[in-house]
């Protein structure tokens, strides 16, 4: 199974190095610090997780959606599409790709409204402003930006295989699995093959559980330099999260995030007709428009 990864679109087109990431994010990093940028990504990974849990999709759908989200913003500024719109779009597409089925239009939007209202009112004081036509439009852009590379290889499968190889260790699998979930809040899925991420997650899980599998790790035929890089990135995430007060910091950071302008530039006195009833606090200048009906 892992062998197929080497001929996948993920390996051929979507394994990037740190320089690639920095180059593509250059515009946004003029406005946000690297730390702030990561906090935005963590916030939206959490948002996608909440949406996914509320929609009762499997973790694999959530993982795929989260990587789609990252891929989009590797190629584009936050200014191009509001992340609050891209997040449900990613879940919507990932659910189809991962064979979870089509999430109904009304269920997707009502779930977004409920999650925003019940869990994110500290960030978004207004109602979730998008409708399904926004999601459907956005889906085409997402597909286009990803160059139709939809099939993803995650760390979960190799992780299960490695744990089985070590022997039955339920706490090891569940701890490493959680680390793999956490790793979605970093860039590792954009930078390393899934089996290396799995080994790094196992490595961290062993440290947490104080288990010694040195001989097992020693027999692996992998580049340990890479494993250590991944481990370091995930540990940096834990370090960052220690002092990250999301409720307090995120509204301020989102204020700085560049926003889409849905209309060509006009004098400020114009362009207020037919607006959605509400707008999130973080979107002070612009709101999404209804799609023009043909």
């Amino acid at each position: 199974m892992a062998g197929k990864f080497w001929s996948s679109s993920q390996f051929q087109q979507w394994i990037l190095d740190r320089q690639d990431l920095l180059r593509e994010r250059h515009g946004d990093l003029q406005i946000l610090s690297e730390e702030e940028y990561h906090k935005v990504m963590i916030f939206f990974a959490n948002f996608i997780q909440s949406l996914g849990e509320q929609l009762k999709v499997k973790q694999q759908v959530i993982a795929t959606a989260t990587v789609y989200f990252k891929r989009f913003y590797v190629r584009n500024s936050f200014k191009c599409v509001d992340p609050l719109l891209l997040a449900p779009t990613c879940i919507f597409l990932a659910s189809k790709v991962e064979e979870f089925g089509v999430i109904s239009n009304s269920r997707l939007i009502s779930t977004c409204q409920a999650v925003v209202k019940n869990k994110y009112s500290h960030v978004y004081t207004a109602e979730f402003p998008y409708r399904i036509n926004h999601v459907l439009e956005c889906e085409f852009y997402l597909l286009e930006v990803m160059d139709c590379c939809l099939v993803l290889y995650h760390a979960y499968r190799p992780l299960v295989q490695y744990v089985a190889d070590i022997g039955q260790e339920n706490d090891l699998l569940s701890t490493a699995w959680k680390v793999a979930n956490d790793s979605l809040r970093t860039d590792v899925a954009l930078m390393y093959p899934p089996h290396q991420i799995a080994i790094a997650c196992l490595h961290i899980a062993c440290v947490i559980l104080q288990k010694d599998y040195k001989t097992w790790f020693a027999e692996l035929n992998v580049d340990f330099e890479k494993i250590l890089e991944i481990t370091r990135i995930i540990l940096n995430l834990y370090e960052l999260c220690k002092n990250f007060d999301e409720k307090k910091e995120i509204p301020q950071i989102l204020q700085k995030v560049p926003k889409p302008k849905t209309q060509p530039s006009r004098p400020p006195s114009q362009g207020a007709d037919g607006q959605p009833p509400a707008q999130p606090v973080v979107q002070q200048q612009q709101q999404p428009q209804g799609l023009q009906q043909p």
Binding site: S8, K79, C80, V81, D82, V97, F100, T262
Partner: protein, 419 residues
């Protein structure tokens, strides 16, 4: 979404109608959408004068099957699997177009051509090795899909394309992956997503008895059916298809047909038969004694395929009732049949002339009937396609000159020589 972002991407996006000529060049119509024969514009100026098949997916947006087809084809690359060249997303009307290499022939038309020729007492000259070459390449393509954790799930003659003149002459290309899916991690039982998937004639007995999980063996059964059809020009499990609206996998007439050819399975031949969800219905509806004396060897002998031939020996092991006993694609490819003269060739026509007509363009009139058919079919999307037709011809392409073939089900019972 940002206005400038939209303007910028729109100006950079290449439009399918700017790059290709395909208007009036429709060659196929089915529930999946329309297929056009497309040529690059300004073909004379550029060296690229190849022909392409442009599939406009039915409906708008990214449907489940569009999503599957794009996702899988994007990852797959094999000489016997249709190659996705490019995806065009038309934002304005939300249409999705898939660009493939153009395949001039398919097994539905090839088999039909042979059947028509026989009805008119004409012979079609083809290499002795052709059936063997076709089967070998089908197996090769499916082996690739299966080893990449992809099940096709809808194998039938109309989905097996054969390339015409050109660099890929006489090569099999497995197509129509809209039903295919990765099966390494079924998040939901497959049966929950598409209640009924494979066209009945090519559907394995375990599916008809309510099996909830698809397996590689289901594709192998379909290949066995196609192999038999290539040998005899008749769909081996041909069955009248009236009751197409049911989403129930259990299909009495189809099972009856299978038993009529194969005989009713013995307990020792298929031990898990008792565990099938529809086993109670089966024992209620069927009696073993009704099928005494039926066997695959008798059926094939009737069609002039000797039961001591290597072809028959292989067929028998592809069409085993017990899915766990059926050959894998790899085992089948290593069968002695393929080591015996005549050997399979990379060009199934073995360099000889191609006797089959090229695809015709569909006219507006065809379009109208097709549209009506397509609408009717959409209602039974998960059921059988083009049931009113003489066969499961998803492509609905007209053949060249020749009298129309009256689709009488009992025709299939007549003996026919091999081609």
């Amino acid at each position: 979404m940002d206005y400038e972002f939209k303007v910028k991407t729109s100006s950079e996006r290449e439009k399918v109608e700017d790059l290709f000529d395909f208007e009036g060049c429709k060659v196929g119509r089915g529930t999946y959408g329309h297929v056009y024969k497309a040529r690059p514009k300004n073909a004379n100026e550029r060296s690229d004068s190849r022909e392409y098949a442009l599939k406009q997916i039915e409906g708008t947006g990214i449907s489940m099957s569009a999503c599957r087809e794009i996702a899988l084809l994007r990852e797959l690359k094999h000489t016997n699997v249709i190659n996705l060249q490019r995806v065009f997303l038309s934002h304005a009307d939300r249409k999705v177009y898939l660009l493939f290499d153009f395949a001039e022939h398919d097994l539905w038309h090839i088999i039909k051509y042979h059947r028509t020729a026989k009805a008119n007492k004409k012979t079609v000259v083809t290499p002795r090795s052709m059936v063997k070459s076709l089967l070998y390449q089908i197996l090769n393509g499916i082996h690739y899909l299966h080893s990449n954790w992809v099940l096709h799930r809808d194998l039938k003659p109309a989905n097996i394309l054969v390339m015409g003149e050109g660099p890929d002459r006489g090569k099999v290309k497995i197509a129509d992956m809209g039903f295919a899916r990765l099966f390494n991690s079924p998040l939901k039982p497959l049966a929950d997503l598409d209640p009924v998937v494979v066209t009945f004639w090519y559907r394995a007995p375990e599916l008809l008895l309510g099996a909830r999980h698809y397996t590689k063996a289901i594709d192998i059964w379909a290949i066995g059916c196609i192999f038999a059809e290539l040998l005899t020009s008749e769909p081996i499990f041909h069955c009248r298809q009236e009751d197409i609206k049911t989403s129930n996998p259990y299909h009495h007439d189809q099972l009856d047909r299978i038993f009529n050819v194969m005989g009713y399975p013995l307990d020792r031949d298929w031990e898990d038969l008792k565990k099938m969800p529809e086993h109670p219905t089966l024992t209620k509806d069927f009696k073993r004694s009704s099928y005494q004396g039926c066997s695959l060897s008798k059926y094939m002998e009737k069609h002039k395929v000797k039961s001591d031939s290597k072809a028959f020996q292989l067929l028998q092991r592809l069409l085993l009732m017990d899915p766990t006993k059926r050959l894998t694609s790899e085992q089948a490819m290593n069968d002695p049949y393929f080591l015996e003269d005549p050997m399979p060739t990379a060009d199934v026509f073995a360099g000889g002339p191609i006797p089959y007509p090229k695809r015709d363009f569909l006219t507006e009139e065809d379009n109208d009937t097709d549209k009506a058919n397509a609408q009717a079919n959409d209602k039974v999307r998960s059921s059988i396609q083009n049931a009113a037709d003489s066969g499961p011809n998803a492509k609905r392409v007209r053949l060249g000159p020749g009298p129309p073939q009256p689709p009488q089900p009992h025709n299939y019972q007549q003996q026919r020589p091999q081609f």
